[in-house]
């Protein structure tokens, strides 16, 4: 049976009508429940061991490397193929056909034969096939701006320029990280009973975490090959400043709409964390101190977060002003007295932008590991348990649910071209999701069911015209075209945060809001939209490397370090 989280807080959870708006979802920040942080806490607490059993990379950076992570019961290996890609083929776009490096996460420790088999398939990415021994498939390109700089500096025996590292933040950018049975990989359900992969995207995050180690090893190796006598390694503190870049486009956007019960569980966990903290009667001084430290570091994060996108530039300016305002408010004693966090949150609703409000929601979690971290166990979903339609439900009850969940959509004018301007479709090329202009391109015939508001409004009209005493079963036998949205409505009736409460085909839609929400749950930082539909991010920046994890905190890296006084 599907399990849902029952709140233990006395403060009410924020209502879906507040949380599930795209403007707010597009302002989420990483938090204690982000999947990268969940992963590193586990790796640390279970004393995972890491090794690099294979390193066969030549002076041009071509070859194969294997990184193995040994857990309490099982081992996993990142198999990395490193290539020498001509500059004119380097593209982050999903339509690319060659990459600087390609990866798979192997279930166990690969034999020579496995590596041979993978060498014929992994470099081809979507055009190759992997097997049920593999868990994920991914690729990365070098950052032209930083990669060569780092290699040549190291080869000269010098450290990379810290300002360059700070402003770019990564050596290579990944694009898609495919999991869940794609291209022949193992089905998620087949590994979801392993504790280490029960949570969402844990295998993908492990793959990216090991990929980061490979990237740093690669530049140090290339420097050594170039100048064996003088080359140095990156200083450990500076080394941690390198994350893994990622370029993410529309391919990710439909995910949230296609996994409503999963989305519900992510949001519900984060909202429950907020409600628990708002319910606290007081804040101890150590908790306030930790909050203030993370707040100061969030301010540095905002400073180091660059974007050339006009919307994000505005949001960043507001975020910086918000964080200054918040610091002043807290310094003036806002956390003294009763119910400090509830008062602070309510204050933020009146005084901060949505970007700042959501940064605060994340920051408030920081001092409260014991209240928050266990909620990560509620972020997976048994999606099968929500698939079947309850046909015995009276049609009038379905109607009531539509009014409650899609009330916003019933008020929209669905004859207006602006409200219908976009259509989601899948292109023949690489089968990637795209967003087109319904009234300008011949795409409507290929439309994907990613317009829940419009579809709910259409179903509502037909319900009104149907026999009032009927059941959902009778209605759907007559109206098979509403079966998809009827299913969604019933899921959202059980899972309050399952449905986005905005028009996903509006002329005003910003797909980057969908991307930001998902990537924030991953734990990404430095969202840098490159258009309204693709975004660059940084992953695992400042995190300890595998060989450092035993000695370092698995959580505090999520905010950049305070700059040392000069």
């Amino acid at each position: 049976m599907a399990q849902t989280l029952t709140s233990t807080a006395h403060t009410a959870l924020r209502p879906p009508a507040t949380v599930m708006r795209l403007a707010r979802m597009g302002s989420f920040h990483q938090c204690r429940l982000s999947f990268m942080r969940v992963l590193l806490r586990r790796l640390k607490s279970e004393n995972w061991r890491f090794e690099r059993p294979v390193w066969k990379i030549d002076a041009n950076g071509v070859g194969v490397a294997v990184y193995t992570a040994h857990g309490p019961e099982r081992s996993y290996s990142l198999v990395a193929f490193s290539h020498d890609l001509p500059a004119n083929q380097r593209s982050d776009r999903v339509i690319a056909e060659a990459w600087d490096a390609t990866f798979t996460l192997f279930d166990g420790e690969p034999t020579q034969d496995d590596i041979e088999r993978l060498s014929w398939n992994v470099p081809k990415q979507e055009a190759g096939r992997i097997s049920s021994s593999e868990i994920s498939l991914s690729r990365a390109n070098r950052s032209v701006r930083l990669f060569e700089h780092v290699v040549s500096r190291l080869a000269e025996g010098r450290q990379p320029d810290i300002e360059k590292v700070r402003s770019i933040g990564y050596l290579m950018r990944t694009t898609a990280v495919y999991g869940s049975g794609k291209f022949g990989a193992v089905d998620r359900e087949a590994i979801a009973d392993r504790p280490e992969f029960a949570g969402p995207f844990q295998a993908e995050m492990l793959s990216v975490y090991l990929t980061r180690a490979f990237m740093l090893d690669l530049v140090e190796h290339l420097a050594r090959m170039r100048n064996p006598d003088k080359a140095v390694r990156v200083d450990p503190d500076l080394r941690r400043r390198f994350g893994v870049g990622n370029s993410t486009g529309l391919g990710l956007a439909p995910f949230l709409a296609n996994h409503p019960s999963l989305l519900n569980n992510w949001i519900a966990a984060r909202e429950e964390a907020l409600a628990r903290i708002r319910s606290l009667p007081t804040a101890a001084s150590a908790e306030v101190e930790l909050f203030c430290d993370r707040l100061a570091r969030a301010r540095i994060n905002a400073e180091e977060w660059h974007s050339e996108h006009s919307l994000q530039i505005q949001k960043l300016a507001m975020l910086k002003a918000d964080l200054d305002h918040l610091q002043a408010h807290v310094s003036a004693g806002a956390l003294e007295g009763d119910a400090p966090w509830d008062r602070l949150y309510v204050w933020s609703e009146r005084n901060l932008s949505i970007e700042g409000q959501e940064q605060l929601v994340s920051l408030m979690q920081e001092p409260y590991a014991s209240l928050v971290d266990e909620l990560a166990d509620w972020m997976m979903a048994d999606e099968d348990a929500y698939f079947r339609i309850d046909g015995g439900m009276p049609l009038q009850k379905l109607r009531d649910h539509v009014e409650e969940i899609y009330g916003w959509a019933l008020e929209l004018d669905w004859a207006s071209q602006d409200n219908l301007a976009r259509a989601w479709y899948v292109s023949e090329e690489k089968l990637e999701p795209r967003l087109g202009e319904r009234f300008e391109e011949p795409i409507e015939a290929y439309e994907q069911p990613l317009a829940a508001g419009r579809d709910a409004a259409a179903m509502f009209r037909d319900i009104e015209a149907f026999d009032g005493e009927a059941s959902v079963a009778a209605f759907l036998l007559r109206h098979p075209e509403h079966r998809h949205i009827a299913r969604r409505t019933q899921i959202a009736a059980r899972c309050p945060y399952a449905e986005i409460r905005d028009n996903t085909i509006s002329a005003a839609l910003l797909p980057i809001d969908l991307l930001r929400c998902k990537l924030a749950f991953f734990g990404a930082t430095h969202f840098d939209p490159r258009s309204d539909r693709w975004v660059r991010i940084n992953m695992f920046q400042d995190a300890p490397f595998p060989h450092e994890l035993a000695e370092r905190d698995p959580d505090e890296w999520a905010f950049p370090p305070l700059r040392k006084a000069v």
Partner: protein, 226 residues
């Protein structure tokens, strides 16, 4: 292409996720509504997970029903007897309607289905009734008897009986569970011809690529190679 077209004569291994996704796209391509296409993907996957010919039967069905109107394939529900408008009953539409009536079936309503195409495709839906209500359900036709429980399936019948193209089927709740075979979450092989057939239907759902859509649809923007 994301999901490859298998080469002729070869068996290829696919994950259950790929089978479900291909089944859904193919059914949509053959003209089913999205909601029914989701049922088709789920059904193909369920059968594959139970080592039964889900993708194969679905491909046969889609070829048969391609271009036919929903009204001709959907059950007209009479007094215990369900009959198609003017054709063989479609097991996806009929199965969905059965599953939507799970509580009626579990509380004893017997349904006689006249002439169902590919009746084996009803099994995942009968399993849905069992999952929803906890009541075992039996599907039977001339020389086959299937018992579905929330845990799996028990089959009494030959391979040929299971791959019949049309049968009258009886669907009813049964009192007693029997030992069943449970699903196995593992990829399975599908023959090239089947996969190619499904892929051809799925292909109808993909918009032809144009340079304009490549730029606009996927999001042109600042340089991505710096």
């Amino acid at each position: 292409m994301g999901i490859p077209t298998a080469t002729e004569g070869r068996l290829m291994s696919f994950s259950l996720n790929e089978i479900a996704s291909m089944g859904k796209r193919a059914a949509r391509g053959a003209g089913y509504s999205w909601g029914l296409a989701e049922e088709a993907g789920k059904a193909a996957r369920w059968l594959a997970a139970h080592d039964l010919p889900g993708p194969e039967l679905l491909a046969e069905l889609l070829i048969r029903n391609d271009g036919r109107e929903y009204e001709t394939l959907a059950p007209v529900i009479g007094d215990g007897k369900w009959k198609a408008g003017s054709d063989l009953l479609c097991p996806l539409i009929t199965g969905s309607a059965l599953c939507d009536r799970a509580s009626e079936i579990s509380s004893g309503r017997k349904v006689e289905l006249s002439a169902v195409a590919m009746p084996m495709l009803l099994a995942p839906f009968a399993a849905g009734v069992a999952e929803l209500t906890g009541t075992p359900v039996r599907l039977s036709w001339a020389d086959a008897e299937l018992t579905l429980t929330a845990e799996g399936i028990a089959i009494d019948g030959s391979t040929t009986a299971l791959t019949r193209r049309a049968e009258n089927v009886r669907c009813e709740a049964v009192d007693q569970a029997c030992p069943v075979k449970a699903a196995k979450i593992a990829g399975r092989t599908v023959d090239a011809e089947t996969w190619t057939r499904l892929a051809a239907f799925a292909h109808r759902t993909y918009a032809p690529a144009t340079e304009a859509s490549r730029l606009a649809g996927a999001g042109a923007g600042l340089s991505d190679s710096d």
